[in-house]
């Protein structure tokens, strides 16, 4: 289980997170929604240790993330970045099996390549993609490679940062379905940040809305439409009128 207690983070005078409390039970898929610039990515990066919170605690299975051995801690995670963040200089298969080619999880090169091809197949890519460079792939294919990399070492926890941004609706649907299938099949705990409502409905078991640096509402996805929270309602209907200012 991932638990955040009163997490705060400011950049200069800009207080992005103002005391975030959130619980993600093991094996469930939590989607965090919120407008652009509300600190969703910062929250995710705080959990991973990429950004250090100013105060508050982040616990993973009861152990404080800040005090954990970083290598062992991160070995439990997989992450799909917004722009896929593939390494330009490496062919696709080496991107996917990056973690399996070095460090604590190192495997023989041939085995790592085999696993990479298997994971590529799992996300709907053919083995011939393995030898290509990331720059030779379309945006949708890069996202799939990023997804394959995120699941390559069979992590217990997977984070997805805006998984459908920049994709056409059909490709976005494919990625959403893949994420849902993979998370269910692996039994992983998932945390996704997005403002794409189709992703929310396809991926989430639970939803949390981040607004004003705090969790405004959280609950099962089935209750999202009947949340009764005016902020949530405005967000899911995409209305310019409501408590959330359109000009930010």
């Amino acid at each position: 289980m991932i638990k955040l207690e009163q997490v705060e983070k400011s950049f200069g005078s800009n207080a992005v997170l103002r005391g975030v409390d959130l619980e993600i039970p093991r094996g469930t898929s939590m989607v965090i929604i919120g407008g652009s610039g509300t600190g969703k990515s910062v929250l995710l990066k705080c959990v991973l240790g990429l950004v250090t919170p100013d105060s508050g605690r982040i616990l993973v299975d009861g152990k404080e993330a800040a005090k954990a051995d970083q290598d062992a801690f991160l070995a439990r995670f997989g992450m799909l970045f917004q722009g896929a963040a593939l390494f330009d200089s490496l062919p696709v298969w080496q991107n996917v099996s990056f973690r399996l080619l070095r460090g604590a999880l190192k495997r023989p090169r041939a085995e790592a390549k085999e696993i990479a091809i298997e994971k590529l197949r799992r996300v709907g890519l053919t083995p011939d993609v393995a030898e290509r460079l990331p720059a030779e792939l379309s945006g949708g294919m890069q996202k799939r490679v990023g997804l394959a990399r995120a699941i390559a070492a069979d992590p217990e926890i997977i984070f997805f940062d805006e998984p459908t941004t920049g994709l056409d609706p059909i490709m976005a649907g494919v990625i959403n379905d893949l994420i849902r299938e993979i998370v269910t099949e692996m039994g992983a705990t998932a945390m996704t940040i997005t403002h794409d409502m189709s992703s929310v409905r396809a991926i989430a078991d639970n939803v949390a809305m981040l607004h004003g640096g705090k969790i405004r509402w959280t609950g099962p996805v089935a209750q999202l439409d009947s949340s009764g929270d005016p902020y949530v309602q405005q967000f899911i209907t995409g209305s310019p009128d409501g408590p959330i200012e359109a000009v930010r």
């Binding site: 990429l50 991160l74 963040a85 390494f87 973690r99 070095r102 460090g103 999880l105 990399r149």
Partner: protein
């Protein structure tokens, strides 16, 4: 208050400079610390050896040949005013090996290698590839900085050695073919005039300039701002810093080797 504002600006600039020196020193210390602790990334080191050493050879070679040739012409023209044009081989050898060879190679490496490293790492930062490295349990400094600095430490002295030879040969070619020097006498005078300390100082300068060039590229790349402008600024700053520090280090090392 208006009278004090130039002083305040000077103070801010001085503090900014000292802060920068502090950050660079810490970055250098961290690089050295990671250099001696596993894991080591051999494949990245080999790639860096090729990029920094092998691929820099053409630009370094051409620069050295033209510099040596121009130096020979200048010394001959200047020397003829005092009827001492016969010292061309000795002065070319001394000038190239002690100063121009290492400095020109250092500046070429700053232009070619520092800019490329800074732009590459800054782009990686902007596109979240550095964050991705961290989430894949790979320390960016170990994976990106250490292999490049180590590769430069080894290859740039070699490049300087090659640059010295080609620079002298550039002077030789001009002197023999345009200025009428005897080939055998030219080479004899060159070899007899150069001392072991000249060569040691040249290679040591190469090592120092290589470390400076790669360290500046990595540091500015890692600390790049956002977007295309951030990448551009990081690249520009890295080359400026590498060039200035190369010249400053050259002055210091010349003092250490030849005035102590």
């Amino acid at each position: 208050m208006i009278l004090l504002s130039p002083l305040a600006a000077l103070g801010r600039a001085a503090l900014g400079f000292l802060a920068m020196v502090g950050r660079l020193s810490i970055y250098f210390g961290q690089t050295v610390s990671h250099m001696v602790r596993p894991p080591f990334y051999g494949r990245e080191f080999l790639v860096a050896l090729g990029n920094i050493g092998w691929l820099s050879l053409p630009v370094v070679g051409l620069t050295a040949v033209f510099t040596g040739g121009a130096l020979a012409l200048q010394i001959y023209a200047g020397g003829s005013r005092f009827d001492v044009q016969a010292v061309v081989p000795q002065i070319v050898a001394l000038g190239v090996v002690r100063e121009l060879g290492p400095v020109m190679v250092g500046l070429m490496i700053a232009a070619r290698v520092t800019s490329s490293i800074a732009a590459e790492i800054a782009t990686m930062k902007v596109t979240e590839q550095i964050d991705a490295l961290v989430t894949l349990s790979t320390h960016p400094m170990k994976y990106l900085t250490v292999p490049r600095v180590l590769a430069a430490l080894i290859t740039v002295p070699l490049l300087v050695g090659i640059g010295d030879i080609l620079g002298i040969m550039g002077g030789y070619a001009v002197s023999v073919h345009s200025l009428g020097f005897n080939p055998g006498t030219y080479l004899k005078n060159t070899i007899e005039f150069i001392e072991p300390l000249d060569i040691v100082s040249s290679l040591a300068k190469g090592a120092a300039f290589g470390v400076i060039a790669t360290l500046m590229g990595c540091y500015h790349g890692m600390n790049s701002g956002r977007g295309a402008q951030g990448v551009g600024r990081a690249t520009k700053s890295s080359v400026e810093a590498a060039a200035v520090l190369t010249l400053a280090a050259n002055f210091l090392l010349t003092g250490i080797f030849f005035t102590a």
